[in-house]
Structures are given as C-alpha cells and as structure tokens.
C-alpha cells in the first residue's frame, strides 16, 4: 500500500449508493449489464454502486472484463515459443501471438523481444464466449514500455480517473507536468519526474478511494497543489 494521506472530507458527500439486492426500478435494465438483475418485472442491484436512470449500476469495485478494441496495458507473465501471456489486471490472461506484433519473431525467439515483467500497450483483438482473450500489438498506439511508472486500479475506476471528457486526467497532467496513459483495464502509465509521478500515484489513489464522492475533481486538484508546493524543492 502506498502512502495515502488522511484528507479533510468535510463538505464532501457520497453519491447515493445501492447495495446488492436493492430495488432499482420496475421493468428490466435498459442496457445489458452484469451489475443488475431482474426477475422479469423488477430490477435489483447486484453490487455496491451508483444507480443509473437506465436501471443499471456503476460498480464501485469491479475486475476488468476484456472487451474487443480496448486499449490496455499488460505485463508479460509467461513466454512461450510463439506467444506471450499477458497479465491484464483481470481474471483472464491475454494471449499475444508472435504474429500479432510489429516485429518479425521467429519460432522460439519470443524472449528476444518481450520478457517476463515487461509491460506493453496492446489492443484486445478478440474475446470468446469462455472469456479467452487474444491481444494484438498491430495498432498505432501499441508499443513496448521502457520507462515510467505503472499504477494498478480496479477497472471500474477508469471512468473517474479520466473524468468527463478526460477532464480529470488532463488536470493532473497539467498540474504535475507528466504524461499519463490510462489503460481500459485500470493500469495507468505515468512518465515524468519521479516526484511528480509519485504525486500522480497519490492523486490516483485518492480518486480510486473516493470515486463516489461529489466534488472529487476539486478534492484532487487541491491535494495536488498542496503536494506540489510541499515538494517543490525536490523538483530539480
């Protein structure tokens, strides 16, 4: 656990929350969802989360379930002669085949390109019905990561980390002078001054922990300002 400071939360209130089994409304959910269920005529929540007008719930805590075309950050956890297995911060590892990379990888040469512990930006190519996941690096955004810091969060926090129209993440970038990439799987890649990256990590922890509070952007913004001024001597 990283250092997460105690915050003054006075004046900050939680959004309305529902708990498993709570009634959401008459009728079925208006969107397919894992986080609400219906008996045909009434819909109930299946998780702790924020209820939506569509009779669904945004969960506070959820594992990443891979979806086609998602851009994710994965960590190599196994190297085989023609493919790698990627930890996607999910219950399901991703298979990256040698043919799905921008390199010409010969049989048994996978280890020359990516090894255990390496991180890559990749795209989810396909997910089958038993949730076997295939990822590809044949995408302009995909690459191997060679610098920076990674932070891990539940995938349900990604939307709050990004903020409306990316407002939260661009505020953090601007205030700390870092470059940030948020994978759909909840892995965040931060490049910049090590102290700045540390502050970003703390800010992300606050977002993750207090994601259901009203006025979150303001809370995070104030915190970053405070930390940056406290640590400005270290930015050399």
């Amino acid at each position: 656990m990283r250092y997460v400071p105690r915050l003054d939360l006075s004046g900050h209130k939680s959004r309305e929350l529902v708990f498993p089994g709570d009634f959401l409304g008459d009728g079925r959910p208006l969107m397919p969802t894992l986080y609400a269920y219906s008996d045909g005529s009434r819909t109930y929540s299946a998780v702790i989360g924020i209820p939506q007008p569509t009779r669904t719930v945004i969960p506070l805590n959820a594992k990443y379930l891979p979806k086609r075309d998602d851009i994710v950050i994965g960590i190599i956890e196994d190297v085989q002669p023609v493919f790698w297995l990627l930890n996607l911060n999910s219950p399901y590892p991703g298979v990256l085949h040698a043919n799905e990379t921008p390199w010409e990888v010969g049989f048994g040469e996978t280890g020359k390109y990516l090894n255990i512990g390496d991180a890559v930006i990749a795209k989810i190519q396909a997910v089958d019905e038993t949730r076997r996941v295939f990822v590809t690096m044949k995408d302009t955004r995909a690459r191997k990561l060679t610098s920076g810091t990674l932070f891990f969060f539940p995938a349900s926090k990604v939307a709050r980390i990004l903020g409306k129209g990316g407002s939260m993440v661009s505020m953090i970038k601007q205030k700390t002078g870092t470059s940030i990439l948020v994978g759909q799987n909840g892995v965040v890649w931060v490049r910049g001054h090590p102290i700045a990256a540390m502050i970003v990590g703390e800010a992300l922890d606050i977002i993750s922990r207090y994601s259901h509070l009203v006025g979150l952007t303001e809370l995070v913004s104030k915190y970053i300002d405070k930390r940056v001024s406290e640590l400005k001597d270290l930015f050399k």
Partner: protein, 245 residues
C-alpha cells in the same frame, strides 16, 4: 448437545432469562466492519457475542490448477477455519471433518447466490477465519462472508444473513452461546436472503418437534431482518460515512 450437562445447571431461569441474561428471542451484541484488509479484494470483520471472525474474499481470479476450471461458470471455494487459539482447548491446525463440511456447504450456498456464470473459468475464494469461537461461528462467518463479497464487488442476488436458533431446557431460543450449544437439546443454523424471503442454508443438530422447528424458523427469520439492517449499516459506514476510508 452431546455433552453431559453439569447437575444443577439451569440454562433458563424462572423469569425466562438465559445464563447471559438474554431473553429467549434476544440476539447477542453484534459488531461489523467492512474493508479491514488491504490486500484482499474484499474483507469483513464480525464480532458476534464472544465470536470474532475475519473474512477475506479474492476474485474473480484465474483458477489454478487449470483442470479445476469450468468453462461455463466460476468456481466458488470457501475455507472455514478455526484458529488454534480460538477455543479454550487448543484446536489442532488443519482441516477437520467438521470444518471440511462447513466449508463445502458455504461454498455451495454462495455458488447459488453469486452470478457465477458471468465469470467462466475463474475462481472466487472465501476465507473465513474464526479467531475466537463461542458457538454460532458458521452463521457469523456466513454473515461476514456476504459483506466481504459485496465489498469485493462480486455480483450477487443479495446479502446473505445467517443466524441460529435451538432448544435449551425445553425452550426454543435464538442465537445459542457456547454453554447453551453444549448442554442444550438442539441447534439449528439457518441462512437466508432476507429481501426475497428465501432460505439458502439450513442445518440442524439435535431433536425438536415440527412445531418447535417452525417456532425456531420464525425466530431466525425475525432476527435475520435485524441482522440484515446491521449489514447494510456496516456497508454504509465504509462507503457513505467514509469511516476508515
């Protein structure tokens, strides 16, 4: 049950009070806290009378060994374990006939409540550690486990609430403690989905008449409604009141 009652021991006195001063249908004091462990996906701690129980939940996560994976649904695994220091006489570490049975039943019960078909090939692990025992640990464990599962964000039909009733000195009573369990005539743990009014777990040890079982079930049902409110309060304390966040 099973143990010889010491001569002269009265479990219920002439004012219908029990040895710890409770009425026949009174619960022991219950304290619940959610999110007590940082490493687990979800966790809960429950103090129920003298019982102290810690539950950690992990998952859904990759299931190893792979031959145990089910391509159609998640596998729920549970481990109910009593700490060596949890009772007056030391408990030998490791699974016992009793703990294996309780673990199996708890895993099967939660399989029916969690939406396991949403997570094929994965595992959901529930670890119930009894730190201090004073009868009724499985019901307290189930109550805590459902809080930990909710904390972990695992989709399920609702919170499971459990409580026991039994028979002592000829009276049907709620929530037996150690002495009542040892020297009483029957013990009946039960778990339910309060909102759906559905029983999901039911065991009985000892002997009761059909009428007594009905009374006991009614008692447990009423108690579960109270415990359910406590469970929701415990979740609210973490997420709405931001206690310990």
């Amino acid at each position: 049950m099973g143990m010889q009652k010491p001569p002269g021991l009265k479990l219920v006195d002439e004012n219908l009070r029990r040895i710890d001063g409770r009425r026949l249908d009174e619960l022991r004091p219950i304290k619940m806290k959610v999110g007590v462990l940082n490493r687990a996906d979800g966790s809960a701690y429950v103090e129920w009378g003298k019982n102290k129980i810690l539950v950690a939940v992990y998952g859904p996560r990759e299931l190893h060994p792979r031959y145990m994976q089910d391509p159609t649904k998640a596998v729920v695994r549970a481990r109910y374990n009593m700490a060596p220091f949890s009772t007056e006489e030391r408990v030998k570490p490791g699974p016992t006939r009793r703990s294996v049975e309780i673990s199996k039943l708890i895993a099967e019960m939660f399989s029916g409540i969690i939406f396991i078909e949403e997570f094929p090939r994965s595992a959901i692990d529930i670890f119930i550690e009894v730190l201090q025992a004073d009868a009724g640990t499985r019901t307290a464990g189930i109550t805590a486990a459902s809080l930990a599962l909710a904390d972990a964000g695992i989709p399920m039909r609702g919170l499971v609430t459990a409580c026991a009733a039994g028979k002592i000195d000829g009276y049907v009573v709620l929530d037996l403690n150690k002495e009542e369990d040892n020297y009483g005539e029957a013990d009946m743990p039960m778990a339910m989905l309060v909102k759906e009014n559905r029983i999901v777990y039911w065991q009985m040890d000892g002997q009761m008449t059909e009428e007594e079982v009905r009374t006991a079930m009614k008692m447990v049902k009423d108690a579960c409604e109270k415990i359910y409110e406590m469970q929701k309060e415990a979740l609210k304390r973490k997420y709405v009141d931001l206690e310990g966040l």
